[in-house]
């Protein structure tokens, strides 16, 4: 057979695969609906910012200064007064119900002590069963109480102050979408490229149609290529979609070179596809493939890639584990190019690691594939 006719057959095969995908409306909906839903959720719903956190107050003093303090706390916009407690006994009940997250206890004689130069102790009781919440609320409240005391006692007129001017670079508004958009792209590409391909090939095996394909005049390599090409294209379109939504809805910019960014996405798509094919060569059924993709790819890539939790704060072992996951490098490159606007020479190490990983995976897949099928 000449190479021309092989190409022709290959093209026909790719067309068949594309029809398969296009005919399946529901999967298509998921393919494009999921990335959109994810970006929107991350952008709008998943934040660590607090507005209007409920605070309860146990006011033993009930004098002018304590009322002013309570009013001052509410004026920040971070706190709304949830309820006034009347006794220590009420504390436990409201914590157990989960209605109270933070309780401020103002001691007796608050006014007279405050203005009479006696030391005062204000207690902040937090529900530590949610440590993130507790830490953040305590921090906010402490800042507010300190500023109240400063106002009341006219401190801060001391000339021996060191001032600090902070500038938040790359994300001056502290928008959480900046952090989530690159991560979401990485996850989406992985889901579609790796999970879908592993399932598609596993499905052919499960239903026994793989055998039929293998006796066709196409070499096995082209069969696999024909199967993954449409998905590669689809996931690439998805990545661009997420970028566009990020840009127009959340104003997440692409500071660096867009061309470089898309090139890196393409590289990562190849990485993900080789992972998916590798999984399918060792899986017999779709359920197998699904579980392997979920556990081997999705979970680690979401948790250990620095997407949601900073890698630098993790225990050493997890930190190293995170550095054998392709998504870690991909997200790092995305953040560099998109947000810090760096050129290739800043991210060359990460790019090389990613290329190395991809080549290694392709080799592994190829070897596995040969032994399994021929």
């Amino acid at each position: 057979m000449s190479s021309i006719s092989i190409l022709k057959i290959f093209w026909a095969f790719v067309k068949k695969e594309i029809y398969h995908i296009l005919r399946d409306r529901r999967t298509l909906l998921i393919l494009f609906g999921m990335p959109l839903a994810q970006v929107l959720i991350f952008g709008y719903a998943v934040t660590n910012e607090f507005k209007d956190a409920a605070i309860d107050v146990l006011d033993h003093a009930k004098d002018d200064a304590s009322r002013e303090l309570i009013y001052h706390l509410q004026s920040s916009g971070n706190f709304s007064l949830h309820k006034m407690l009347h006794s220590e006994a009420e504390l436990e009940d409201s914590f157990k119900e989960g209605t109270s997250k933070l309780v401020m206890v103002i001691p007796e004689d608050f006014s007279s002590d405050l203005y009479g130069s006696k030391d005062v102790t204000i207690q902040l009781l937090a529900d530590g069963s949610d440590p993130n919440n507790a830490n953040t609320l305590v921090q906010y409240a402490t800042v507010m109480i300190n500023s109240f005391v400063k106002d009341k006692l006219h401190l801060g007129s001391n000339p021996y102050q060191i001032n600090v001017a902070s500038r938040m670079l790359y994300n001056p508004q502290l928008v959480s979408a900046y952090n989530f958009v690159p991560g979401t792209i990485a996850i989406i590409l992985l889901i579609i490229s790796a999970m879908l391909t592993s399932l598609t090939i596993a499905r052919e095996k499960e239903l026994g149609t793989m055998e039929i394909l293998l006796v066709s005049p196409l070499p096995p390599l082209l069969i696999i290529l024909g199967k993954v090409t449409p998905y590669a294209f689809l996931s690439f379109v998805d990545a661009v979609l997420v970028l566009i939504v990020g840009y127009f809805v959340f104003e997440v910019p692409v500071v660096g070179s867009l061309f470089l960014l898309l090139l890196i996405c393409l590289l990562y798509v190849v990485t993900a596809l080789s992972l998916g094919t590798l999984i399918s060569t060792v899986s017999k059924t779709q359920q197998d493939a699904m579980m392997r993709s979920l556990i081997g790819l999705m979970m680690p890539s979401m948790i250990l890639s620095g997407f949601i939790f900073p890698l630098t704060s993790m225990p050493k072992l997890l930190f190293y584990l995170g550095h054998i996951i392709p998504a870690t490098y991909f997200i790092e490159i995305l953040k560099g190019v998109m947000l810090r606007g760096v050129g290739l020479h800043f991210i060359i190490t990460e790019v090389c690691v990613l290329i190395g990983m991809t080549l290694f995976l392709l080799m592994l897949t190829w070897k596995n594939f040969k032994t399994r099928l021929e």
């Binding site: 839903a37 030391d119 502290l174």
Partner: protein, 372 residues
Amino acid sequence: MRILGYLIQKEFIQIVRNKALLPMMTILPIVQLILLSNAASNEIKDVRVVLVDMDQSETSRLLVRKITANDRFTIVDAPFSQEQGMELLQANKADIILEVPSNFEKEYIRGEQPELQMLVNAINGQQATVGSGYLNNVIRSFNQDIMREVAVRMRQVGGAQVNIVTRNWYNPEIKYNHFMAPGILAEITALLTIVLSAMNVVREREIGTIEQINVTPIQKWQFILGKLIPFLCVGLVLLTVGLTAAKLIFDIPIRGNIPLIFFYAIFNLIAVLGLGLLISNFADTQQQAIFVAFFFVMIFILMCGLFTPIDSMPKWAQLLTIPNPLAHFISVSRKVLMKGSGLADVKWEFIYTIMLAIVFNSLAIWSYRKQV
């Protein structure tokens, strides 16, 4: 009833026969627990700082020493220009640049209130806020130290000291894994059962065995129950394994009543399984089922309060957590395990979950057609 017995028996035989399922029910939850509970913390333990000291005076060196001594900070480099510092920030080798301007000491002693420059990489907003907060605290306490020395020469300004004492109930040492483990337990249990049940019916359809069931006199409800009960058992086994592992590995507190958790889990699993079967009924291929299930699971996990508190979501998003069975499960397991909450404290979770179970399962029974 006898028919139902046979159906359940058949399902169990298939579950036991499935080689992949057993490790999934034992090893996987434990691995996930260990990994996630250790990884999922928003603590910032290590802030990488670049110090640009243009002053090189006694005071600035004291400040640098104070920052270096604090084990929250790693000093990456100390170049002599901001540009070099910026390169490190761009290459993501540092999180914060702190610049001490020249003449810092002179101006300070004259009482001219000199200004330090702090440049923070703020791509991850929370990390930036917390990290720069730490550094600000160190600078403030350094300021107070040297202020005292200066104040000796001035008239002392007397005033009240206001101390703020913080106590964290139920978790005084702020152990993150005590908080994460109960949440992850609920998440794993719900996740696996929904995926398994979503793939189940559609698999029978794909392989063609559903035809054989359809030609028997089995009723709709028997068929659905025959699918529900075995997976409910699988879910409860999972929960038991996970709870035991969490107790042994992390020594999580169990302040509340364990049967209460299991009692709640039964309702929750029925709700989740109903949703899985519903998805399965509407799918033609396993692939479709997986993706639809995955779509829901993704949204459930992101919006259930596992990683980010529900309280910090906007109001409309908080309302959206009501049809999310995972959110209630996590809430119950955290409340009961950590705070020892009783039935009265979790009544709303119960009410919502039972409503969800009824809705999902009615839909599942209604949408199961005995023809192809």
